[in-house]
Symmetry: none
Amino acid sequence: MGIQERKEREKERRKQQILVAAKRVFSEKGFNKATMEDIATQAELSPGTLYLYFRNKEELYASLSLRILQYLLLRIEHVNAMKEADPEKRLQALMEAMFDVYEFDPLIIMNMFHLQSSDTLRNLSPQLLQEIKDLIGKSMKSIVQIFKEGVARKIFIDRHPVAMADAFWSLFSGVILWMTSKRLVSDGQDHLKETLSLAFETFHRGIKR
Amino acid sequence: MGIQERKEREKERRKQQILVAAKRVFSEKGFNKATMEDIATQAELSPGTLYLYFRNKEELYASLSLRILQYLLLRIEHVNAMKEADPEKRLQALMEAMFDVYEFDPLIIMNMFHLQSSDTLRNLSPQLLQEIKDLIGKSMKSIVQIFKEGVARKIFIDRHPVAMADAFWSLFSGVILWMTSKRLVSDGQDHLKETLSLAFETFHRGIKR
Amino acid sequence: MGIQERKEREKERRKQQILVAAKRVFSEKGFNKATMEDIATQAELSPGTLYLYFRNKEELYASLSLRILQYLLLRIEHVNAMKEADPEKRLQALMEAMFDVYEFDPLIIMNMFHLQSSDTLRNLSPQLLQEIKDLIGKSMKSIVQIFKEGVARKIFIDRHPVAMADAFWSLFSGVILWMTSKRLVSDGQDHLKETLSLAFETFHRGIKR
Amino acid sequence: MGIQERKEREKERRKQQILVAAKRVFSEKGFNKATMEDIATQAELSPGTLYLYFRNKEELYASLSLRILQYLLLRIEHVNAMKEADPEKRLQALMEAMFDVYEFDPLIIMNMFHLQSSDTLRNLSPQLLQEIKDLIGKSMKSIVQIFKEGVARKIFIDRHPVAMADAFWSLFSGVILWMTSKRLVSDGQDHLKETLSLAFETFHRGIKR
DNA sequence: GATGAATGAGTATTCATTCAT
DNA sequence: TATGAATGAATACTCATTCAT
């Protein structure tokens, strides 16, 4: 059993090693320009080895999303567990959580988009796909919960909580993407944090009664 | 000169013909799965001909952005030209304009992202790249103008107009992307318009004094 | 139309050029060891070009069979058309025809075996597969016809003509394969023709009344 | 020495265990589609272990031939040892023996062909290759013996006994291969036994004086 | 002996791009 | 101008084989 366990852990370690390398390479080159060989080299492994841990390139990429989504859910549920806090406080905490998630892996938004391409979906193992869908589903539900409570307590304006959650999530994604674009095109400074703050603040003011 | 001109016009017609075909093919298959041959077939031309009008695949794709951005700028400037209207009215008109732009070509957001990949930038001709940057710059400036006036007239809250414009644009992009993702993953109904409305409304409320 | 036709002919010429190269390479190395690059090099073309004329490696290989089978059928039908000749004469002519077929392309038997592997069948276009099946079917029917007539005229012993045709074909394949094997293993002389003669003679004697 | 011997026997047992697994896997998938891992799994061993008993995949496959050839020789020699029986009886017995061999391992013919590919030959150890050649040689000699006697006793027609043996063996191989092909392509019933009977009967009639 | 994780060479296939006509 | 046949570089993935444990 000790051996069994050690092997399991060793295997997990390898997976992480590959994921770390993959994250770096995908970040630099994007999904299409990144080759499995690049990733293998970065992970100081041979190409064949990658396939011992991930079925194919798509699944390796999607596994990165899984990691992020797990962290996202963790943070969101933590926010939701703040039983004593009112919806406003939670919303504030949620914003901070999402920024942390972004810092944990800036690829998050690009990953999510890649995920939905139908070709990608076809290439993932059903389990992995289900895990990802579950994580997204749970996270969204958790966010919706905050708005639901806010509306119920008449702290937020009376709109459909799901739509509010969508708008909130859109705002987050939108800012990240737009700021990323601006950065690349204009070679200018990085206003991500400021823009995100303003966007969240505006949103907050916009839904308060 | 008449001949010169006619040739010029003929050339422009061909370019449009190709762009229309490209738009259709890229929409269906995405940048990577779409082949130059697909586009040539769709345009009822031969692959070689495409290269008489566009340096390469990247430039063809980027030229689609150009078309959209031209339309975007047209609409935005039109909104800004409403001299008699107050910032609130203009903001409202701007929202409508942006939705029209989306309907003109739903690829808009995906195009913009593709654009910023460094590999793409490398493959574009400096002229085209400059044209695109100019269009984006002008559009953003025009949007900023609306917020600037709103802030100056104390109709909007006192925040940096550029940041407000960024937030506005982010909101728009974010909703489109998030709704697109949701649609693909959940096979559910399309809530794009509703979510966009809510997001804009919230934003509006959020920046009003 | 002239142009259309010339193109068609040019295309056919290319196909033949590739088939000739493929025949040589496959003969030397066998299906698995032969690479598409080998064949391209032999045909003085680039690898990509092969795919303009054949869907994939399997189909290229199968197309070799088609060529042989076409020739086989041609010869068999010619034998069968010898209306004035009696079954014995035709059988004799058939034997000679089959030997010619073998000389036309000694790969014939190996090709036929490769063909039936289920993986091969999966990779062929339905049309090609059908063409092949048709050719085999017609050829076998034509052979059966000879025996049928021989039996009816009480020249051959009274056995089921289909079984007789199978035995005849088996004999032919068997000799070729066995002699090929012997040649390779023993590095000795080539007794193919003699063995084939003896086998046919024996068969002939065996079915005569 | 007792230990030495026991080890030897243990080693032989393992070899057989692997061969049994290999036979099953190769039968199902053919040489190329079968992987060493498939065989290891089937044998409930690890891939590495296979290499302790067989130099490589080719040698493992060839060792299957060895097994069959050993059985073949055993049966043929038994037939030849029927001193009291005349050539006709022996020929009859030989036919039955060969059918048993086929049933012992239907791969026999495919194996034999694979063997002669020059790449295969290159990959075999000289010893194994020699053993195989010896077995084939002895078997053929034994078969030749029957015909020699038949010719000498003027029971069979006066042809070269080696050629007669070749024809006999060819007939056997040919029927098996042809029937195998027909079975796969036509999804029809299996006429192997009937065709083999007819072929042998015909051959028999064909060589009788 | 036995293991099985790691290797890395090997290859079919695709597709943006070119260029002779 | 327009063509479209030809190119050939590029790459995901497989699997026989090895070797540290």
